[in-house]
């Protein structure tokens, strides 16, 4: 009796030892789970719990910190993860300013980092610093050209932009300006508003005075509903385009029937169930949706969380490769992991198919975008 009990305790202790305190691979995660970017960070934080606990026969531990959408905190978190927790790789952050600030630390400590923020500036050009940095979301330019192509193909000649007065809006004004010029679209008005504004009447009147064929709202999450509702209220009848920043169900809830017919580019994840079976991203899109909604309830999945799931997929593809040459916890492993991520080829993720290279650390192509419209209060795939 006492012997079996002793054996049991020993077995339990060994199991604990193996799983908890000394996980063989450590992944540091820094997210913007509070502050202005919380709508991105919260689904990502929820997704961490769904990532595999074992990769390539090694146990994996995820250490999650919150940077409160503040770039100083992001850098502090990253240093803490690297020096105190001795992580092998960093996932984060949720937003561009934080990720840009973290690039320096990644290079200095030679730690591979996978960002979940959109701007191409995080990974382009791939230089001595950025060689350590990868990212999973689509570049803004990819999405902007999707809109410009679609507009040009549907008889739009003049466009007005109402965008956030921050980095997100500015990025879109630049990228869309370039894409529009390439397609011969004329931008007749460009107005700004901030995410906390209670009224955009002035901007909308100015836009309507320019009588554009279409209006692009460059905002993210529920704040992007405000200009669209105001445009409808003032009787604007042209097409309204949104960016992929609105692709969550809260936007549908807040915008309601005013947003019927809105067009936007998005990662294929948003409409995974409607994709043809031949689409390589459908499998991962459905897998993520099932895992997320299984844990947090039906209709809760958001594309932003998918970017973290995709970062997990990149790790699952790259870690077994890296393990062939080095052991976790060493600088050699971090270098091997970086090389392995850079060599990923045709890896399907929930937002597209990844082909990394020495010059491209985002690795997504036009398979990473689809045009989506809102029909009967639901996202619907548009077949071009």
């Amino acid at each position: 009796m006492s012997l079996t009990r002793l054996l049991f305790v020993l077995a339990a202790a060994t199991a604990l030892y193996a799983s908890g305190a000394t996980a063989q691979i450590k992944v540091g995660v820094d997210l913007s789970a509070t502050g202005p970017a919380a709508s991105l960070g919260i689904p990502q934080k929820n997704t961490v719990a769904l990532l595999p606990k074992e990769i390539g026969g090694k146990s994996v531990e995820y250490i999650v910190l919150d940077d409160a959408s503040d770039s100083t905190a992001a850098v502090k978190n990253m240093r803490k993860l690297i020096t105190e927790d001795k992580v092998d790789v960093i996932l984060g952050s949720s937003i561009t300013p934080n990720s840009l600030a973290m690039v320096d630390v990644a290079a200095e400590t030679e730690t591979p980092m996978i960002s979940m923020a959109a701007s191409a500036k995080i990974v382009e050009p791939v230089d001595a610093k950025r060689m350590w940095v990868f990212k999973t979301p689509q570049n803004d330019s990819l999405m902007a050209s999707a809109i410009a192509n679609y507009m040009a193909g549907h008889g739009v000649k003049s466009v007005a932009i109402i965008g956030f007065s921050d980095a997100y809006g500015q990025g879109w004004r630049d990228e869309f300006g370039r894409a529009a010029q390439a397609k011969g679209l004329k931008i007749v008005a460009s107005e700004e508003y901030s995410r906390s504004d209670t009224s955009v009447t002035g901007q909308v009147l100015k836009v309507m005075a320019a009588s554009p064929d279409a209006v692009l709202v460059a905002g993210s999450g529920t704040p992007a509903a405000l200009p669209e509702k105001e445009l409808k209220e003032r009787g604007y009848t042209g097409k309204i385009y949104q960016t992929h920043g609105v692709a969550n169900n809260d936007f549908l809830r807040v915008c309601g029937k005013d947003c019927e017919g809105t067009l936007l580019p998005s990662g294929p994840l948003l409409v995974a169930a409607q994709l043809p079976d031949s689409n390589p991203t459908k499998g991962q899109g459905l897998a993520y949706t099932r895992a997320y909604e299984g844990a947090y309830g039906a209709g809760t999945v958001a594309t932003f969380g998918g970017h973290l799931w995709d970062a997990g997929l990149l790790l699952q593809a790259a870690i077994p490769e890296a393990l062939k040459t080095a052991q976790p916890g060493t600088p050699a492993f971090r270098r091997a992991l970086r090389d392995a991520i850079e060599n990923l080829h045709e890896v399907p993720i929930s937002h597209g198919v990844v082909n990394m290279s020495k010059t491209d650390h985002s690795g997504l192509d036009s398979r990473a975008r689809v045009m989506v419209t809102i029909h009967d209060g639901k996202w619907e795939l548009v077949n071009n």
Partner: protein, 345 residues
């Protein structure tokens, strides 16, 4: 820019200005009676609007539980005070205001969340929750420091603001909400198309301002508050409790905040943190009134609202800059126009 655009912008500015005016009045009221620069005023706006949205979505708003928590803390503080002063006859009063009423509000909220009640009844339920929060907040955060300098009270306000914003994120999530309009439809006014809800906002704000006027001019409680504002020591000498004035003031501030929140929720999307900026614009208006004059503050609020709507038309990129830069000439003018008083109590 033609006349119709001017009229629409005017209307937009007046609607926003009406909300800023309410908040500016609350800020002036709180400052004159308790010397607190009440930064969390905007949080009551958010709590009001989002609690209503939660109730309409058949959820019990997290603010109900916060109210309960505040009540328990306040009661414990009252209990220690009672034991220190040995005045046990006061205990039942604290028990009612700190425990019984919040528990009642929670019970009503839980029932209302599933009862499918009309919009106006839900509004009353939200008021029952949020208005009680005012006096309890005063009891917990401000009353122990009531005699401290305005600077200390300001620092407390900053702390309370951050705590309330963080709790707002916890209760309501990062994404915003809207509520259905109190009055549907549109009407013609001076040749432009105005939504009835915006008219309702202006009329309701005007009514509330009128009610406050009557309260301060005609009722004993209002006069007691004014007396405390004019001279705290004098008021105490004639047996007006400063603690009681503080609690009453904060109840009024919470009422005004929650009410404005529910007024704007159908017109705009409200987020867990949008109260701060709305409150800050109310604060600019209150500064124009020198934090003491109600009519000047209300006028300032209209000015802020109009400035905001016109600058969003002409130079949308600089709107916030223009609105908040307004405070500099106003401060200059006030500091030259009014004699300097050394404030030392």
């Amino acid at each position: 820019m033609d006349l119709s655009i001017v009229l629409i912008l005017l209307q937009d500015g007046i609607v926003n200005g009406a909300i800023y005016a309410l908040l500016a009045l609350a800020l002036v009221l709180v400052f004159t009676v308790t010397r607190v620069i009440f930064i969390p005023q905007g949080e009551f706006v958010t709590y009001g609007a989002l609690s209503l949205a939660a109730l309409l979505a058949n959820k019990v708003p997290g603010t109900a539980w916060l109210l309960l928590g505040l009540g328990v803390v306040a009661f414990l503080m009252d209990l220690t005070a009672v034991f220190a002063s040995r005045r046990f006859d006061r205990l039942w009063l604290s028990a009612v205001s700190d425990l019984v009423l919040p528990v009642l509000a929670v019970i009503i909220a839980r029932w209302a969340a599933h009862a499918g009640l009309p919009l106006l009844v839900n509004v009353l339920v939200v008021l029952a929750i949020v208005v009680q929060m005012g006096p309890l907040l005063y009891r917990v955060a401000y009353q122990p420091l009531a005699e401290a300098s305005p600077l200390v009270l300001l620092i407390v306000s900053v702390g309370v603001h951050f705590a309330m914003t963080g709790l707002g994120l916890l209760f309501f999530g990062a994404e915003g909400s809207r509520t259905p309009a109190f009055i549907d439809g549109r009407s013609k006014l001076f040749g432009i198309d105005v939504s009835s809800q915006s008219l309702f906002v202006v009329v309701a704000s005007a009514l509330l301002i009128g009610l406050l006027y009557v309260l301060f001019e005609r009722t004993l409680y209002g006069k007691a508050l004014r007396a405390t504002a004019v001279n705290r020591r004098g008021a105490r000498l004639v047996a007006i409790s400063t603690n009681f004035s503080g609690r009453l003031t904060f109840a009024l501030a919470a009422l005004i905040g929650a009410f404005s929140g529910m007024l704007i929720a159908p017109v705009t999307t409200v987020y867990y943190d949008s109260g701060f900026l709305v409150g800050l614009k109310g604060f600019v208006a209150a500064i124009i009134g020198g934090l003491i004059s109600y009519p000047l503050a209300a006028g300032g609020a209209l000015l802020v609202g109009l400035l905001e709507s016109f600058s969003s038309f002409w130079a949308s990129a600089f709107k916030e800059v223009i609105v908040f830069t307004l405070i500099i000439p106003v401060l200059l003018w006030r500091s030259f126009a009014t004699p300097v008083l050394e404030e030392d109590e």
